[in-house]
Symmetry: C2
Subunit: 628 residues, 2 copies
């Protein structure tokens, strides 16, 4: 096996020696142009290969023909002709990356809601400027010349355009080399960068929802307001613990850990930016704006702020305001130095920008009546609003709803069961990617729980019954799936033969306890919030269920396990990763960013740990009964 | 001899092995506290010594007594007790630096002019905040807590205070360690830094006039608006040539030269900041604002902008606007990262921020009638104003007026002759520092020129006569001073016995040619500007003569050599380094910075090289005749 590093990225992977480079790139998800289908005749698949012992004369006939002298000197190869025999670093030049036809991508910037009149208004702008060359009669400075043209084109006379001195440095050469034709990129009145020629068509933004368990990324075309790529990956901090508390402990141990955790997060964002860019076939240096939403702890990790006080009573964040900064202030972040980075505002130590982003997505400020929002991630965040007043609290749910800490749990990716229905006779399920099942993701777990409760195979107190306790009418097929294990019973969801891994997929008593703890925490939070607002569960007029379950949660299942108040199921909206959609809106609209700031200040945060009766309410909430 | 490096600085010097450390510090101009007069009993003179082969047991009895265990471990010594025997690095902690009694320092922020109603209004502010510690009932974030207190104290409710995330990082620890008492430093609504305890009394700014030959620095106390230290040193780029053109050539040769020249400038500014701080006994981390004025070329070098087009017709600067930036954007600049750096605006490639600064100093926008300003540095910048209209041009004078390129020329420092009067009988002169003479500075050179012209020892065409050509009435003492040299005659100004160096000080025919070229360039510039503005020389109502001659130029001498238009000498004001004084005003007042911006845009720049008749006018101007 040899190790291959692919740039931009770096994406690292291990492949058998002798693998065709084109294959390696495919495996890494890097799509490059191959017009001739890999026959070695089009010359489109040029990449640079550098190995410790690179031997330049290992080129085959096609390569010798299609590569120029200079390219050969630089180490270019045709990916479809080159087999890797040793550890190598591959550099994929932007011109070899595929550009998908953007028009094929489905319309995006849709809302999950009707009646949402969202108007994108991107603060990033591009102007293509044809500058008049100077003369002894016109000795204006380069920057004055650019400003004057900018004033003309933007119809904003005497705008106080600002340019960082570092960008000024490149301007004389850029003007000279490009016949005085340049494109200027602005965030409001501030120059982000200056580019050669006319690049108005290329303008991108990226939004991230940084969850404790999963990071989701969205690449948006800021010219046509379309999502052009999405991606998700595991938060690299997972290795320090599934919950924020264990990560805070790690971060507190040594000052350098804070920097380390920041760097790991930034590296992951970088990799996602490279892979999103590769998927969409764009040049990542054309991304000018990044929006980051996440819980307060992830937010603090990202900005390398002390998280110590987040974990200690009275739970004080360093900052709750939004942050608008330059990319260069996030060390080693891959966007160009003056690209803008926006971090959504937080409310408190345990209500972060991801919740604000949810509220942006459901247009909370326009809702009349009583609205409940529950975002199930590693923490369960609960928001209740009534006539413009908003309360919020956070419940330490643990990562069960994200598929973590569950024996056969997994992230909602290919091979995950995302829907299950168990009748007295059989088990029906759906697998993401229509392959064999490898595990169960959050929405599947809630379905499974609800089904087994309905069949009374799980009791309201969470106990998984023995075969002989099964109620009448349940078929042998189902009964036999209950298996006595060393640490309590378990339920066979998928047999070894049917599964992708060759191992059976079980749902164990321990798994049920994890779900129970998560459910109990969330239910208790909802109860306390209702009590605080003097609202009865049945008065709730609409409930939004958000969270990175992968696919959306089945609302009936959520009702059946008693996770949310029992109101008519048609008034419950399962909205999937609303924080991600909210982040996209924050990226596209300054108005939304202003509303976010306003929301973060007006929400009444309830500290559950400070509630006099929390223990009792939590204990009651552990039961899987409908919430009335 | 051993080499010693002193930090902060670094200041490097070579001293004999065995020198007392206190002596070394004195030589370096670093003043440290020595309450016991160096007897080794007060323990005030603590500094850290680190040598490659540092032996900790070389402490004497006093040191052992007065230094703590921990201090000894860190390498502390008493400067009055420690002899240096090897190459060492000395670190002077801020608490060992002397603090002068600021009240003794003369009132500054005076103007060189009457009727100047200058009102300082510093944009840097400090607030001492006592923050309420958080509780479960008050979970506001650290930053919200700080903002709320700031709003209270500043009476500016809901100001949108901004803080860089990098500063946020230090806040939780700072609050914890200082009993929630901190001082916040702001530039307008933006946080520059946050400090422990109450530091309101310490607030400083620094202004630099970066000349082609000399850099002058001024340290200002921003609480009481006083100058607390001044310093000057040679521009480190002098090694690339005395004139800007040769430096531009060097900078163009390789891209890395641009960075190199920037770094050299910044290192020099750093050293000046350290020495200014040491002189005033202040901590340089309490300097929050730096103002930089200089000609356009120095400005471009400082910001690492391409200077190529400054030297090529049509002479285009990259930027003429002022720059307001953070200290961290000047690589390795020693001020704290978010200290503000302001660079005065330029007018054109050869009229820079130093001229704008002159105009600020003479309050040009309030002057009625016709005003001429001539700033003599390596370039001669000329400004003419009439009824609010302003013209300017730049004459390539060369560094003669700064004492460079003159055989016995020197900068106006100790040992320089700054005044000379030669009568038919004798030579009278004044030396800076009242020591023996080492050379002649700019103002001395102009005096010398004027005296010798008056005695007809120099002819109006610049020829230094032979002994036998001397007019009647000149004493033998003077006549004998004319000596025939290999390359023309020379005049003995100071004999070998009288001079500090033991060598005679001559004024040579070649020196005269240098002065002649400089004078010719300036005179031609003035003539062309007058012609452009349709003003006759005698119509000028006031003339300001500025420049880094060290001491101020004698106006009568300037008139006698025909440098400036012949108007009554009482209407000619020799104002010394007006650019430095202007820079101080720019530091102290935002209004002045706004006026500077406005001036830079409204000045009509005349390109002398584009003038159809420049050659003829220059040739005529070479003669040392009064300008009428
Ligand atoms: S794919 Fe066509 S040459 Fe490689
Ligand atoms: S000066 Fe007093 S101990 Fe050194």
């Amino acid at each position: 096996m040899i190790e291959v590093t692919i740039n931009p990225g770096p994406i690292k992977l291990t492949v058998p020696a002798g693998t065709l480079l084109l294959e390696v790139l495919k495996q890494a998800g890097v799509m490059i142009a191959t017009s001739c289908g890999g026959k070695g005749s089009c010359g489109k698949c040029k990449v640079i290969v550098s190995s410790p012992k690179f031997i330049p004369d290992t080129l085959n006939a096609s390569e010798k023909e299609l590569l120029s002298e200079e390219e050969i000197k630089k180490g270019f190869h045709l990916a479809c002709q080159c087999h890797l025999n040793q550890n190598s670093t591959i550099t994929v030049p932007p011109f070899s990356l595929i550009r998908e036809d953007n028009s094929k991508i489905k319309d995006k910037v849709k809302s999950c809601l009707v009646n949402d009149e969202f108007k994108p208004a991107v603060s990033v702008k591009k102007y293509f400027l044809k500058i008049n060359p100077p003369s002894l009669q016109d000795q204006r400075s380069d920057w004055t010349r650019i400003k004057d043209e900018l004033n003309k084109q933007s119809n904003e006379n005497n705008q106080t355009w600002k340019i960082p001195p570092a960008i000024l440095g490149s301007i004389p050469q850029l003007l000279k080399d490009n016949d005085f034709k340049i494109t200027i990129v602005l965030y409001k009145d501030k120059v982000i960068t200056v580019e050669a020629g006319d690049t108005r068509r290329e303008m991108y933004g990226v939004a991230f929802d940084i969850g404790t368990t999963t990071i989701a990324g969205y690449l948006l075309d800021l010219v046509i307001f379309k999502e052009v790529a999405v991606d998700a990956c595991t938060n690299p901090q997972f290795k320090y613990g599934a919950e924020v508390i264990s990560r805070i402990d790690f971060a507190r141990k040594e000052v350098k850990n804070r920097q380390k955790m920041q760097q790991e997060l930034i590296e992951t964002l970088n990799q996602m930016i490279f892979s999103l860019s590769a998927k969409a076939g764009i040049d990542f240096t054309r991304i000018y704006f990044a929006v980051l939403v996440g819980n307060t702890c992830m937010h603090h990790f990202l900005w390398s702020l002390s998280v110590e006080n987040l974990a200690l009573s009275p739970y004080i964040p360093v900052i709750t305001d939004s942050i608008m900064d330059d990319s260069r202030d996030l060390p080693n972040f891959c966007l160009i130095p003056y690209a803008k980075v926006y971090s959504a505002p937080n409310v408190s130590a345990y209500i972060g920008g991801d919740v604000i982003s949810d509220l942006i997505d459901i247009v909370i400020w326009q809702r009349k009546g009583i609205t409940l929002l529950v975002d199930l991630g590693t923490n369960g965040e609960i928001v209740l609003s009534k006539d413009g007043k908003i309360w919020a609290c956070s419940a330490a749910a643990g990562p069960a709803f994200e598929g973590a800490r569950i024996s056969s749990g997994m992230r909602a990716s290919e091979g995950a069961i995302d829907r299950i229905r168990i009748t007295p006779d059989k088990v029906d399920y759906r697998v993401i990617g229509q392959t064999k099942a490898s595990g169960i993701c959050g929405s599947g777990i809630v379905d499974l729980m609800a089904s087994l409760l309905k069949l009374q195979i799980i009791k309201p107190d969470g106990r998984l019954v023995n075969q002989e306790e099964c109620p009448l009418g349940i078929s042998q097929n189902i009964i036999e799936r209950i298996i006595r294990g060393k640490r309590g019973n378990k339920f066979l969801v998928v047999s070894a033969e049917e599964s992708a891994t060759g191992n059976p997929i079980f749902f164990t008593q321990q798994d049920i306890r994890e779900v129970q703890l998560a459910k109990g925490a969330v239910t208790a939070g909802i109860r306390i919030l209702l009590e605080q607002a003097r609202i009865k569960p049945e008065e709730i007029e609409e409930t939004f269920l958000a969270g990175a379950f992968g696919n959306v949660l089945d609302t009936t299942s959520a009702l059946e396990i008693g996770l949310i108040p029992a109101i008519p199921s048609k008034k419950i909206y399962s909205i999937g990763n609303a924080a991600g959609e909210g982040a996209e809106k924050l990226l596209l609209s300054e108005e939304m960013r202003n509303i976010a700031e306003h929301l973060s200040q007006k929400i009444n945060y309830m500290e559950l740990s400070a509630h006099h009766d929390f223990q009792r309410i939590f204990a009651e909430s552990l039961f899987f009964n409908p919430m009335v």
